[in-house]
Every structure is written in structure tokens, then in C-alpha cells.
Point group: C2
Chain length 698, copies 2
């Protein structure tokens, strides 16, 4: 590169060192090593750069070329580039607030904190897997909305920088294998091959041939041996990668971590801690033309250079705007649908076709079948529903009828065959949501949410309303046994903030699950489904289920009941049977509460909550899952305190105490417990809820 380019790159490096030094925390090494890549990614074609389309004035412009920093710990680099490109969230003041409470420059990139950041990265392997989702989204949307006259309404590329850590993680292997299978030609990954991980040399644990592995995945693979002494090779490689349109591209770029640091360059010591003030001074001295007394300094010519690059990128957006106006005029319906999708607005009447179960008329079925009916009831109006299963399409009942596969040569299809890749599946859905214009869904057995939890949590944190269809949601899975039977999974998900966990008891409640899931644009929903049939409930209600919990069977006669049974999913009808037996055999007047979604119930007002669960009436929870969390709502539990076992469902339900008989017996025991001892029923509602968090930052 030219002298000015070298100065640009060195300015980035020094800024990164300054930011980490001021924060007294962070990762200077990767930004210093990757600065040449960032420079090229943020330079225009005219300047010999990538010519990435993006817009500082409109960071959410649909057709921007996405950029994902998969090695999120290098985020100083991303904030610096956004700053130099004029993005409002990354002012110089914000660079100085790096890693401080409430800043737009947190310690790892957060999409909801910083405009210009597409996804939360930092948990290694996620960013590159999200990028596969971004590329799927672009390919599908382009195939669906472009026309011969308007071939570039959606035509963006997705660029990634990633490091060794991201490529060691299994999730990235899953995602990249699928990316190769799908031939995602608009995905270009720059691999920062610096031979260093936190523990030291990659020789310690990572000596595989990465290029060969990616070739095996079906990727186009290149190597660039030097970006320190010139950018020509990198430019050529990117140009070649752009020309390969039927395969994703990996460019392995040999770099040195902490480049420019006299004593830490090439060493793990530059990875995760400030260089130290004297070392920062040395960096500035070593990088010619830098004044060691200046911090957070951008030389005028460097500032002007990136301003010009940003202006050229902005020009692409302006051009696109003009084309889009014509598109809108020529194809108003398509444009309206695209706009609706990007605004995450639901079309009129989308819930109208959700099934209503008529007791005594409709047939009993598994809730996974009800889920299939609901999915197919809303899908015709929602082209943004795109997704599939991790190789369990039939078992998960998640096929949208008539929806062809999204494959290399059929990008207009909306059914994704994720393969046996649960973690990548969730990460890809995050990427698709991040793209905008999608409500991705994905499916597996509930137990295997445990494989995907790293990415599911990022749905919740990132406020991505991904819909998770999780079937076989209890020991009711039966013969496959304890390796496949969830115990702790419901509680794992319920303990996650911003995650709705819905376990429907029948068709009406399932309709509520879908309505809530679609309305919750920024909260992911887990829809838990049974493998086996549930008996129909006489008084179930979609409207009531949307409140999270409601009385599905009231105790006979007037006045407060003697006992409350609170249950979810396939345990509710057994409680209904138990309640009848308690009334007829022991005159214990029993209310049954169905609680499909704890999160929604806790959002109701106190009066409603107490009307459903009075708290001072003996209450027994019944759920074929860990008892954790249920002590809040109930005095005693029928739950799982051990793993399940292999056997037919009904035998397991009896063995583990979920038969109506045991429920009735324990219900009576609970009533007797207080009666016989003459102790007060402790009022579970007589407790305050404290708000402890100060402020309302992101």
C-alpha cells in the first residue's frame, strides 16, 4: 500500500492500543494484527479496497454489505472503523469510553448497543456462524424479490474477520459445512492466521490444515502470506473471492498479533491485556510518524481518507435508493411486502386461521401435531417464516406444506435442511434475524437445545425473536431413554432473561404459543411440544393461555378451593382427572391451573396473578421436569429429581408419579399436611418483589 495507507493502518493500530490502555482492559493484539484487513474492508473500489456498500447515515440500509467481526474481542478495531467512517454511535468520545458502563463501545460487540454492529460476537464461533445466516438471508431474499429488471434490490455480500478460536469451535465447523453445501458465494471470510491463541502458539492444540478442511467443506480457499509489507496479495485474493459466486470463500491471511509492539508482537501477551503505557509509547515511536505524546489522535489526512471512503460507500446507498424508488413504483406489492418484513409488522389477519379446538368434536393429538397445524395456519401470510429442523423434520412436525427446500439451486425455497447441527442451526437463525425481514424458526428435540444453548442465549441477549420448536419435551418421549429425555432443559431456558418458554397443554394453548411468538419480535420463544397425544381440555382458551396461566378447571361449588393443582403441557389433563377424583373420592374441591408460560404470567398484574394462584391455598405443581423454579408457585412438587429411563411412555408416567392417581394422592397428602399439623398454609404471594437494577441502560 501507499504511505498514506500505511499511515491509515498504523493509526488504527495506535487507536486500538490507546483504547485498551485507557480502559485498562481489553484486547490490543488482534486489532493491531487485523488492521490491514479492516483498512481494505473499509476502503472503496476506487481506493483499491473492497468497495463495501454501507451507510453511516443509515446503518440499517437493507442492501448494505454485512460485516461480522467474529473474533469479537478485537472490537476496538470495529469501533475505530465505524468512527473513521462517521457512524454516530462511535464518536471519539465513545472510543474513550471503551468498555465502560452504558457506552456504545462495550467490551464485545453488541448489536443493540451500537449501530453498525450486526450481531453480538465474542463467544467464539458464533459470528462466523451468524454470517452463514446473513448470507442465507441475502440469497433467499434476492431470489425472492429481485426481478430481471431489478436484479440488485437485495444483492449484498457478507464479510467476516475471524481468528483461530472461531475456527476451533464446533459450531463454526457445522455452519461452514452447511455454507459449503449451500454454495453461499456471497460469503467471504478473512481468517486472521496469527498462530497464537490465549494459551500460546497454535502448535499447542491446533495444527490441522484449515485450508484443506474448508476445501473439504466445498469452499473456495486462498492464502495470503503477508499483509504487513503490502496489500497487493490481499486485494487480489478478495477480488478472486468475489468472482467465485458458487462457493463461499476463505482467505487465510498470515498476520502477527500485536503488530507494531516491540516486545509483544507475535506473542500471546498482546492478546487480552493492555500493552502498558511505555509499550504504547514504543508502538507509536516504532510506527513512523506517530507522536508518542498524542493519544486518540487521528491525523488529518487519515481522517480525510476514511471520510472519502465512507462518502463513496454512501453514494452506493444513494444510487440504490433511486433504483428502489423505481422498483417500488413498478412492483408496489413486492415493495410493500419487503417494507413490512423489514419493519417486522405482521400482516392483517395473520392469526385468523389459527385453529380453535372444539371439545367433543376435534380429535386428540400430540401437541407437536397442533404445532404443525399452527405453523401451517400462519405460514401462508408470512413469507418471513423461514427455517427447518436439525434432521428431524418429520419428528418435529415443522414442515411448512408446499414450501420447497432452500438449496444451492433453489434459493427461493424457505425450508432449510440444517443437518444434524443444532448449534449452527440456532446461530444461523440469529444471523437471519439480524439480516432483518425474517422470522426464522428451527426445530429439534427439546433435550438437544442443550447442544444449541450457546446460540439460543444469544437470541435472547441480541433481542432476536427466533422461534424454537422443541418437541419430545419430557420423559413422555419414551423408549429412546434418558439421553433423549429433558429434565433440566425447561428450567435452563426459563432462567434465561428475555426468553419465553411455552409448553402448551392442547391445541388452543398452542395457538396462543404461536400468537405470542409472532408478536414477540424481540424475544425468542421456545415452543415445547409432546411426542404423544394429550387428552382434550374442556375449558382451554387461547386468550387465557396468552396470560401465561389461567384456571382451566374451577373447583366445584362456591368459595375458595381446598387445593390448587398447577401444571403445564401434557401433565394438565392428568391433573384434570386427578381433580375429579379428589372431588368424588375425598370431597377435596380442586382447581386446576394450566401455566403454559411462566414468563407471561409474571408480567400480569398482581390482582390477576392472585386470582389464579391465591398462594395461601395448598398448591401442588405437576410438571415432568426438574422441580427447580416451582417452589415459587407451589407448596409441593411432583417433578423430576433424577434422570428418566427407557420404556413406554405410559409406564414411565406411572413410574415417575405423573399418573392421575399419584397426583390425587399427593394432592390429598398436601391438604392433610396442613390440616393434620394445624399449621397455617404459608402464603407464597406474601413476599415483596424488589427492583434492584439502577437505571435503564441497554
Amino acid at each position: 500500500g501507499s504511505d498514506l495507507e500505511l499511515k491509515c493502518i498504523n493509526t488504527i493500530r495506535v487507536l486500538a492500543a490507546d483504547m485498551v490502555e485507557k480502559a485498562n482492559s481489553g484486547h490490543p493484539g488482534a486489532p493491531m494484527g487485523c488492521a490491514p484487513m479492516a483498512h481494505v474492508l473499509w476502503s472503496s473500489l476506487a481506493s483499491g479496497g473492497v468497495g463495501r456498500a454501507h451507510s453511516a447515515s443509515n446503518p440499517e440500509w437493507w442492501n448494505r454489505d454485512r460485516f461480522v467481526l467474529s473474533n469479537g474481542h478485537a472490537c476496538a478495531l470495529q469501533y475505530i472503523m465505524l468512527h473513521l467512517s462517521g457512524y454516530e454511535d462511535c464518536s471519539m468520545e465513545q472510543l474513550k469510553l471503551f468498555r465502560q458502563v452504558g457506552s456504545h463501545t462495550p467490551g464485545h460487540p453488541e448489536n443493540f448497543c451500537t449501530k453498525g454492529v450486526e450481531v453480538c460476537t465474542g463467544p467464539l464461533g458464533q459470528g462466523i456462524s451468524n454470517a452463514v445466516g446473513l448470507a442465507i438471508a441475502a440469497k433467499h431474499l434476492g431470489a425472492t424479490y429481485n426481478t430481471p429488471d431489478f436484479p440488485n434490490i437485495i444483492s449484498n455480500k457478507t464479510y467476516v474477520i475471524c481468528g483461530d478460536g472461531c475456527l476451533q469451535e464446533g459450531v463454526s465447523g457445522e455452519a461452514c459445512s452447511l455454507a459449503g453445501h449451500l454454495g453461499l458465494g456471497d460469503l467471504i471470510v478473512l481468517y486472521d492466521d496469527n498462530k497464537i491463541t490465549i494459551d500460546g502458539s497454535t502448535d499447542l492444540a491446533f495444527t490441522e490444515d484449515v485450508n484443506k478442511r474448508f476445501e473439504a467443506y466445498g469452499w473456495h480457499v486462498q492464502t495470503v502470506n503477508d499483509v504487513a509489507n503490502g496489500l497487493g496479495d490481499l486485494r487480489q485474493a478478495i477480488e478472486a473471492a468475489k468472482k467465485v459466486t458458487d462457493k463461499p470463500s476463505l482467505i487465510k491471511i498470515r498476520t502477527e498479533i500485536g503488530y507494531g509492539s516491540p516486545s509483544k508482537q507475535g506473542s500471546a501477551s498482546s492478546h487480552g491485556a493492555p500493552l502498558g503505557s511505555s509499550e504504547v509509547v514504543a508502538v507509536k515511536s516504532r510506527l513512523y510518524g506517530m507522536d508518542p505524546d498524542k493519544s486518540f489522535h487521528v491525523p488529518d489526512d487519515v481522517a480525510a481518507y476514511y471520510k472519502q471512503q465512507a462518502a463513496e460507500a454512501e453514494e452506493m446507498r444513494v444510487t440504490w435508493d433511486a433504483v428502489y424508488l423505481k422498483y417500488k413504483h413498478a412492483l408496489p406489492d413486492k415493495a410493500a411486502e419487503l417494507e413490512r418484513r423489514f419493519k417486522h409488522e405482521l400482516p392483517e389477519g395473520v392469526f385468523d386461521n389459527l385453529p380453535t379446538f372444539i371439545f367433543g368434536k376435534d380429535k386428540a393429538n400430540a401437541t407437536r401435531k397442533f404445532s404443525e397445524a399452527c405453523l401451517n395456519a400462519v405460514a401462508p401470510k408470512l413469507p418471513e417464516l423461514m427455517g427447518g429442523s436439525a434432521d428431524l423434520t418429520g419428528s418435529n412436525c415443522c414442515q411448512i406444506k408446499g414450501s420447497p427446500d432452500f438449496q444451492k439451486d433453489t434459493p427461493e425455497g424457505t425450508t432449510i435442511r440444517f443437518g444434524v447441527r443444532e448449534h449452527a442451526m440456532a446461530a444461523i437463525c440469529n444471523g437471519m434475524f439480524a439480516y432483518g425481514a425474517f422470522r426464522p424458526f428451527c426445530a429439534t428435540f427439546l433435550q438437544f437445545a442443550g447442544y444449541a444453548l450457546g446460540a439460543m442465549r444469544l437470541s435472547a441477549l441480541s433481542k432476536f425473536g427466533v422461534i424454537y420448536i422443541m418437541t419430545h419435551d419430557s420423559i413422555g418421549l419414551g423408549e429412546d431413554g434418558p439421553t433423549h429425555q429433558p429434565v433440566e432443559m425447561l428450567e435452563s431456558l426459563r432462567a434465561m432473561p428475555n426468553m419465553n418458554v411455552f409448553r402448551a397443554a392442547d391445541a388452543n394453548e398452542m395457538a396462543a404459543a404461536y400468537q405470542i411468538a409472532l408478536l414477540s419480535v424481540h424475544t425468542p420463544t421456545v415452543i415445547c411440544c409432546t411426542r404423544a397425544n394429550v387428552s382434550p381440555l374442556e375449558n382451554s382458551s387461547r386468550v387465557n393461555a396468552m396470560k401465561g396461566a389461567y384456571t382451566v378447571v374451577e373447583a366445584e361449588g362456591d368459595g375458595t378451593p381446598d387445593l390448587v393443582l398447577v401444571a403445564t403441557g401434557s401433565e394438565v389433563w392428568r391433573c384434570v382427572d386427578a381433580a375429579k377424583a379428589l372431588q368424588s373420592d375425598h370431597s377435596i374441591r380442586t382447581r386446576v391451573v394450566s401455566m403454559p408460560c411462566q414468563e407471561l404470567f409474571l408480567q400480569q398484574d398482581e390482582e390477576y396473578r392472585k386470582s389464579v394462584l391465591p398462594g395461601n391455598i395448598p398448591t401442588l405443581s405437576v410438571e415432568a421436569s426438574s422441580e427447580h423454579g416451582w417452589h415459587r408457585f407451589a407448596h409441593a412438587q411432583i417433578g423430576l429429581t433424577r434422570f428418566g429411563m427407557s420404556g413406554p411412555l405410559e409406564q414411565l408416567y406411572m413410574k415417575f408419579g405423573f399418573g392421575a392417581e399419584n397426583v390425587a394422592s399427593k394432592g390429598k397428602d398436601l391438604v392433610d399436611f396442613y390440616k393434620q399439623r394445624g399449621v397455617d398454609v404459608p402464603d407464597l404471594n406474601a413476599r415483596p418483589t424488589f427492583v434492584n437494577f439502577q437505571g435503564n441502560d441497554h
Copy 2:
């Protein structure tokens, strides 16, 4: 193969079809396709088989060649082979009880149900990753205990059958990359390349070049194109694989799922459901010499064949026994240590050097540093402690001093460099524990337990006492921000059966964590550690901490306290400060309870539990984690109801309400809540605990 061999293989196929048919559930396709592999794996060298060392009379013989069926859904195959080889747990009666409650033949292999089964498989990708752990264990143990005179005390190989599903999962990619790096020459994987997954053809989602990928990992790779019409190629490939001692081997074997089924061979329809009785009849007719009227039939010559193979395998054990007697005589100390290790007995005085913190004398520190001290206090006496970190060795403080790396050319080392591979790390530790003679440990940030949960759960289910060192256990991680700050993770792990979650408040409690972890041979332990310093506690106690919870500060004066604060880990000392302030500012007499391990506390008798947490005294829980689960122990909570944020630790603790001031303020609010309203404090202990599980089966 010979006619008899074909008859043997067909007998296996037909038995598998019969078992699934009788169970009316299961997976016939894979056993039918893989039967030739099983035949060769269970045949002696003299018979042209693998000559695997194993012993039906002593299934836990140390030097047996391990076998892992990674595609665990094919387990009918494994049970059949164990049956034909004379393993007691797999009698013909047990084959008929396939997938029934309490049988030794559950729906997926379970190590604790069936002697001869090494690990729980079924969750795809786990078995092959466990096998990497088994191979590491064998290599290390051989290097440590063999001598030039006794080179084969530990010299076993590890064989795996796996399918497409296992190789799509990221966890297997992580493990196999590490296996190649480590040059595990005694690991041989037979890949059932049947071009079918549950959804249909592998063309749907899995078109990568698997062989090339494994070559990239550094494996020795071969292809066998046919095992239906002869076993010669397979035999040659296995022979070649055995000769390659510096690389693990993958043999890709082209098979047909459901081989022998006229209408389902080669189709996904044979994967996960009975073939149907008429189809089973057709299988028997088609497989020459089979009587369609006979079920569960083993022809005499077939039975005699496998009996002979098992006898030859048994002979290897007898020969080894004789050698081992000589070894024991020549090297009594080594033999005694090996025997102690395989019995999981702890040596005398192993806890003697665990540190005791002396208040007022010793220095404050991070609990991760206390963990390091404890690990290093017990390690000198425990060569079975082998493990390491997922590339965070320094941050996790998990280096045993003076312990060299376990690497390709230094197999005697006990420090494993797992790389950035959390899921494989946990799965490998499971394999090492399954080998026997090891107490594996592994480490990462607590948040990234979420990447490893699929395997951690299998530690718990399989009763493998793996030790998980999980540092950076709360928002106290600070600037790295919410992607790295656990919220739901403690609760996820606590909700898992047979998993001890220990969050120590100081050095004495950390010593308790290590003592409990080592004593809990069949329960994994998660040791959660802070990044930052904790203030020393005056009355902490190892003995008390081992009870799970105890009063660390009693309220001033006599009688019951006015308030109880219950906390864990780094929140305890803040509660101590709050208690002092409540006493001095408001004369609220406050007890502080430290609860490092809920699981252990719940195992104490009722009297002890009530003495610590009376239940009817206002109780406030304080933990920088999800509030879920705490309603059981406390009336009100200070916890996390949202994700954390990036910033310095102390600012975050204040912002989220964990400063002593907020704790005191909310403590006073809680006391006032009941006083001012004149309502009784609900007695959280006035509730029955029901035992709902019937029987005591595995």
C-alpha cells in the same frame, strides 16, 4: 466372507429386526447395515477378525480394547454382539426386553445399565468424542505404567462405529481435530457411510468430503466400498489402520441402511421405526437359510462361532492376568497405584494439604486463585487428576505446577491443551473417566459451560465424577460484558440431577469444594470461581461448607434473628457488610448464611436445615445470577432479571444492586414488609417433600 460368516451377519441383522419389532420401537436400519463391521470387530485374529481384547467374564478388565457405538440408536447391534459373546447383561431374555422399563437393554446404550457398554451414546457426536478421551487415557496410562519389561500392561485400542449424524455434529469435529493433533494412533473409527440421515439422503445437507476433512485433521483415512459382498477390503483396511501408530484412523465404509429389507433397504424409512411384521418375514426369507417363523433365533453354528471368538478374546485376558501378576511382583508400587486408581480410592492424607485460610493473616484473593491453590494442594498425591482448559489456562488458574503437557511425543504429561473446544473438552473428560483410573478436570469461563452442556449432562447421567472448574462466574467478570457474563448458567446446572454446583465464598469454602469433588466419584462437580478478589470471611469453615450451607455470621444477641441473608460466592462478604450496617443503623439483627452448594444442603437432615434457614424469619437471597430456584429458600431476592453489561466490576455490582448498601436497604424493606402489613411471615419450610418415583431402578 465364508458362508458361515454371512450366516452370522444375517443372524445379527434378523435379531435386530426382531428386537425392534417386539419393542414396537427402535432403529433397525443401522444395525442391519453395520452388521458386517460388528462381525469383524467381534471376531478373533484367527478368524480373520479384529482380534479385539475383551472379556465377557470380566467386562471391566483394564486392558480391554474399548468399543464405542457412537450412533447409539443402533444399540440393538451392540446388545446382540454382547449376547453372542456371552455377556451376562445381554441374555436372550434381555434382548426380548429391548427398550422396556428396567431392562439392561435400554433404547440407547447406558454404561450404568449394561456391562460391556463403555459410555452413554445416542446424543450424536458424543460417542466418538468420548472415544478420543478413551484413547488419550490409554496412551497416557500406558506411557506412565508400562516399562520396557512390561510394555503391554496398558496397550489397548479404541474402536468406534459412527454414522453421518455423529460427523455432522460440531463436537466431533472439535474432538477429531484434537485427536489428529495428538496423533492418537490407537483410535480406529469405522464410519458407516450409508448416505442416509433421518430426513432422507445426505444430499439434503451433508455433501462435504469427509475423508478430506479428516486428512486435514491429520488422520489416516481409508475407504471401503463394499462390505455386503465380502469382508476382504474391510479386513485389509483395519489391518492397515492398526499399523499406523502415529495417527488416528478413519475408515469410511459404504453401506446400505436396512440391508436385507426388500422394500426399505437404502431408505430413511428403515431408520427409526420397526420394519413391520410382514417386512421382517420378507427379510428372513430374503436372507437365505432363515426360517421366517422363528424369532430371536440364533442357529447353533452361529452361536458356536461367536462363543469361540469370545473364548479367544477371553484367552487374551487370561494371558494378560499372568503377565500382570509378574508386573505386580516386580513393581508393587506401580501396581498398587494402578489398582487404587481403577478402584477410585483416594490415597491417605490427600486432603491434608488443602489450604486453611487464616483470617487477619492471609491475603484476600480471587476464588479462582484459591481454586488453583487447592488443585495444586491435592495434585501431588493424585496422578489421576489429568486435564486442562479450553485455551484459558491462565485465566482459569488450572495449571498443575510442574505438570508437563500431554502431547503427541510427551504422553506422560497430565496437562491437556484442549484448544478452544469446550464441548469436546467435556466429552473427552467423560471418555477419560469411562476408561477408569482417572479423575479428569477441565476448565473454561462459567458462561461457556453453555457450549459444553450436552456433554456435561452426560457426565451427570453416566455417573462420571468429572471436575469442572468454571471461572469468571458472574457479572463480576466485568468489562468483557454480557456475552461473557453468566446469568442462567448456575440454575441450568443446579436443575440437572446428579450434578454438584459449588460456588465458594473464600479459601476455606474452596477447600470444601475440592474435598467434595474428590469424594464424589460418581457425581460431577462444577467449581465456580470469581475473577476478582473476595474479602476474607472471619467465620468461614471447610467442614461447615461441606454441608452445603451454614451460618457464617450469627445475629448479635440472643434469640432468633430479625432477618436472614443467604448468599453464595462473591456476594457473601457483601452480605456480611450489609448485616453490620443493618445492626448498627437499624438494630435489625441479621444472620448471614453462606450457601456454597444447594445440592449438599438439601441432603442434610431437616433439623440442620431448619437451624440454618428457619424459613419463618424474613430471608433475602443475594446471588449475582438468575433468581430462579431461590424462591425455595428465601422470601425475596436480589438477583439478575436481565443480562449484564460491559463495565468495571465494582460499578456493575453497584448498578445491579449487589452493593452492601442495597442489600441492607432491601433487607430492611423485607423486614418492614411484614411488620408494616401485619402479615405473617410465610414459613418456607412448612411444606412437604414428596417422593414420587416408584422403585429403585437405574
